[in-house]
Every structure is written in structure tokens, then in C-alpha cells.
Amino acid sequence: MGQKSKVVASFAEAVADIPDGSVIAFGGFAAPGTPYNLIMALLAQGARDLTCIANTTGGAHQPRMPDLGMLVENGQVRKVVCSFTAPGRPTDVLPFTKYYEAGEVEAELVPQGTLAERLRAAGCGIPAFYTPTGVGTEIAEGRETRVINGREYLLEYAMPVDYAFLRAHRADAAGNLQFRLSQRNFNPLMAAAARHVVVEVEEEILPIGSLDPDHIHTPGIFVQRLVRIPPEPEGLWPVRRKERVR
């Protein structure tokens, strides 16, 4: 399998053909696994009317790294789907909030486990499932529920995406991916949920067959494009979190 390399030369090339109106999922939970370089390339590429899926819209911390909020600020986003449309701590400020409150962008607020499971469902051909999360809360209002074995559950639907932008630690040229520690988070789920998967890779991309088949977090069959992240300052790398924006 996979004797053809999926490596492309630049982030710009990797995102060049993303059309307006795309649904794009962005990996990452806090810094680890966030595709900073692909977000920067998408800012430059300029696709508009996007639906962007990620755990947060970002921007609560300094130094600020590329995030969904920047795509919103750049006028590229129609809708975000996140588990935070307000900051986790009310004392934080999200750059996104101003645009959301002004009605310039839509948002769908989804509990984090439901977000993960809806992506997983899309990647596994499960169109809908039941979950106990959110029952009896505002997010369940007007929604379909079902009692199973005496407990009430909420019906949730799969969340397929057009593109997944991921950041991985190691890859072979066939697109087999390994994530390091908490970098894994949403990344493998988004890979499976997407029709097209673009990955920024931290280490040198290895020849096909270099990775142990028992220890691959995302099989290469899910992946279309790989870009090696260059060293700083050309490439973007996580930095230590300094202070919170007040």
C-alpha cells in the first residue's frame, strides 16, 4: 500500500485549493496538536464562508498563537462549532466574542465529549447516537430524547467535515501518523471524519514503512497531504504560556 508519497512542499500548497464554504475541523486542545502553520496558511489563502470546528476559538492566552478567532477576525468564517463560545473562566476575554455578540459569525455550542463523539461517529459511519450528556439543560431544549433502560438520553448526529487540519509529531510518507502525548486529542477523530486530511508534521517525514504498524494513531488511508514544519522562525511551534489576557 501507499507507495506514493503524500508530502507537499509548503503550507500554501497544502491549502491552495480549499474552496469557499468548506467545513474544516482543526485539531488541538490548548497548544498541543494545534495546526498553527496550516491556520496561518489558510489566513493567507483567504477562503471564506467557512464552518470551523475546534474545541475552542482560541485567543484567551498570551502569546497569542494562530487560532479560529483570527480566521473570524479576517472575515473568513460563517460559523464556528466549539465546546467554548465563551471563555472557560469568565475573567478571560476571547477575541471571538465581539464578533459573535455583534452577529457577524454564527456559533454552535457542543459539549466537548459530544463534539468528540459526533466526529468519531462521522468517521465510523454511525449517523446518530444517544448520549446522557446535556439532558435537562438548555442545550437539550427542543431536542429529541429517548429513555433507554430507565435513563433519558439525547439524540446526537454525526458531524462529517470536508477538511481536517491536523498537527502530528511523526509521519511516514504514506500518511501514517503518530501524535505525542496530549497532542493526540481530537486529531485522529477529525482525520476519520474528513474527506480530505492535511497534516503539519513536527519531525522529518519518514520513508514509507518506517513506523511500527502496531503504534499508528491515524492510518495513512485517511491522510492526503503532509507538510514538514520548518524550524523557527519560518515554522510555528508551541510556546510556553505566559499570562492570561485580562
Binding site: G123, G125, I126, N176, A192, G209, I221
Partner: protein, 216 residues
């Protein structure tokens, strides 16, 4: 035994004919039995990734006796090798790959195929229980379902029929059928004959088929 199951293509030739339909880059799932023979076919430089239900993505040839790795089998339980770039996932992720439509083609054996695209391969007449395995998932979700079967039963009854008599595996999914007599496409009203095996006449194929046969 009817004559028709001894004329035309051999089992390997049926498998070869379907394998030549495989396109470069396809992910292919081969059922137990004759479909396994598809992996023997030389289809030039086309790269095929073989997927097995047990989560092996990118397996290669069956290994000769003494060289087997007893931790590695394909869906038929044969000890296979791994190709470079292979990956292993668990059973739920493996069927996630199937259900999400990533298998370009599944090739299966069957007892019957109907011209409406139904087919039956998990339960024989009068049996209590059956052997489903991964067949219903693959049949319902693969992008293409190819079937290999002998054109007739040992008693000469047609296996290409108008409607399946046996309990079906999935409805309306079969896209291509190879038998010892040739290559056929379910078209709803009948089967379109795409190709006859050497030495088989249209009349013989028509006589051996339990549904309309539309010459291409």
C-alpha cells in the same frame, strides 16, 4: 452436475477478471474463499491496499509454511504478510473504515445474486443460524460490491436470478458479478452481459441465467 460449472473461466480466472477492475489507489476487502484469489492477479503497477475486518490495513501475500507470523491473519484466518506502510487498528475502528464508505470494493462469494442488486451469502436454505461475519457491514457500506460465484448450482439451478430466494445479505448493492460464464452487471430489469468467458455462447449464458440477460 450441470455442464455449465465446468466450462468457461476457472476460479482464478473469475478472480483475475474482477481484479482487473481494481483502480490504482483502491482500498479492497476480499472475502473468504475464491475472492482471496484476487490478490494473486497481476494488475500492473496499480497499488491496492488490502483491508481485513480484523483491522489489518495493507496486508500482503499469504506466507509459506514455516514463515508465518502467528499474530497476523487476514479475515479468512490465513497467515499473511504486511506491506510497507501497513497499520493495525481494533475491530471497531476497522468497521468504522467500512461503514464510512472507505472500502472502494468488497469482493465476496454468494449463493445467489438478483438483477435488482440483492445478494445472499450468509444463510443456506433451512438452516438454523448463519454465518454473517463482516459480510452485512461490507455489503451495506462498501462503495462497490463485486460477487464471484459459479453460474449454477451443482444441480444446475441458476444463481443469477430475478429475486433472491434465500435471506439477503444486503439489498440493491451488487455492482458487478463474475461467474465461470462471464462478467455481468445487475441492471434492475435483468443482468447486462459485459463479457463472455472463452467458449461460452450468449445462448448458453442466457439458458443458464434465471433472469433476463441483456447483451451489451
Amino acid at each position: 452436475m450441470s455442464g455449465t460449472d465446468k466450462i468457461g473461466w476457472s476460479r482464478q480466472q473469475m478472480a483475475d477478471r474482477l481484479a482487473r477492475e481494481f483502480q490504482d489507489g483502491w482500498i479492497v476487502n476480499l472475502g473468504v474463499g475464491i475472492p482471496t484469489l484476487c490478490s494473486n492477479t497481476d494488475i500492473g503497477g496499480r497499488e491496492i491496499t488490502y483491508h481485513a475486518e480484523n483491522g489489518v490495513i495493507g496486508y500482503g501475500p499469504v506466507l509459506p509454511e514455516g514463515q508465518e507470523d502467528l499474530h497476523l491473519v487476514n479475515a479468512g484466518g490465513q497467515n499473511v504478510s504486511l506491506n510497507p506502510g501497513a497499520a493495525v487498528v481494533h475491530h471497531a475502528d476497522s468497521f468504522g473504515i467500512i461503514r464510512s464508505g472507505r472500502i472502494d470494493v468488497t469482493v465476496m462469494g454468494a449463493y445467489e445474486v438478483a438483477c435488482n442488486g440483492d445478494f445472499a451469502n450468509w444463510k443456506v436454505a433451512g438452516a438454523k443460524g448463519g454465518g454473517i461475519g463482516g459480510a452485512m457491514d461490507l455489503a451495506a457500506c462498501a462503495r462497490r460490491v463485486y460477487i464471484i460465484l459459479e453460474h449454477n448450482t451443482r444441480s444446475g439451478a441458476p444463481r443469477l436470478v430475478e429475486r433472491c430466494a434465500l435471506p439477503v445479505t444486503a439489498r440493491g448493492v451488487v455492482t458487478l458479478v463474475a461467474t465461470n460464464l462471464g462478467l455481468f452487471e445487475p441492471l434492475g430489469e435483468g443482468f447486462r452481459l459485459r463479457e463472455l468467458a472463452p467458449g461460452v455462447t450468449l445462448e448458453a449464458a442466457r439458458a443458464a441465467t434465471g433472469a433476463a440477460l441483456l447483451a451489451s
